[in-house]
Point group: C2
Chain length 142, copies 2
Amino acid sequence: MSAVEHAVVDQLGTAEARALLMTAEFGRLAFIDGHGPTVEPFAFALEDTAEDTAIVIAVGTGSGARAAVGQTVAFEVDEIDPVRRTGWSVVAVGTLHGAPATVTARPEPWPDPDGELVLLRLPAERLTGRRLRRETRRAGRR
Amino acid sequence: MSAVEHAVVDQLGTAEARALLMTAEFGRLAFIDGHGPTVEPFAFALEDTAEDTAIVIAVGTGSGARAAVGQTVAFEVDEIDPVRRTGWSVVAVGTLHGAPATVTARPEPWPDPDGELVLLRLPAERLTGRRLRRETRRAGRR
């Protein structure tokens, strides 16, 4: 008897996607800058209010993400084992805003701590995720 | 005398961005699906031709990336040390196409090997990168 490993992609529910999001410290913001689509890594903090769950990032003067305020953007977090080819990815989608003065989340200003920092807030209007695992299947002639 | 560590972001030239891209096995495709912007991780292979350098991915039936053919998309690769807060990120931007029959790159069909695979090809019309490092600065009163 022989067995082969096979990659499997499971779609995650909102609760599980949210639980995984809470384990991460940084993610990747996908937005449109003056040149087209781009992706930048950011440290983030989560803010839960009565209305929503939001990703909050601290953006320095060197980042094009400041120009993305008002855009519908995606923030992706993942943890992938490049050797085992297992892991997960979660994507939050929403409209990026300047954070109001009442914001309680205090994200680390990484990677761009220079100049005047601006806090940006992305309410997760849509939260999806995928788990990337391997399954052992029996191989053989049918 | 005391010293503090400070994050620094360096913009990379095309040659350096390309050299880092060659060290990676997977990255993240940012595109627009039926719900708005999203990001999916993919294994990839690079193809160099006389005309261009392209990222080639193998996409199964479970991925929304098939619908991104014809879009201008971004493919991001990074290597970030979450403890030291150092690393780099590289972004290739271009128009996503179905790969022609002459494609020589053979990407691993990860994470979605199920069903009929389609090879998609993204010529890097624009290749940028950032190095995220830490610099020690002497701290003290001025």
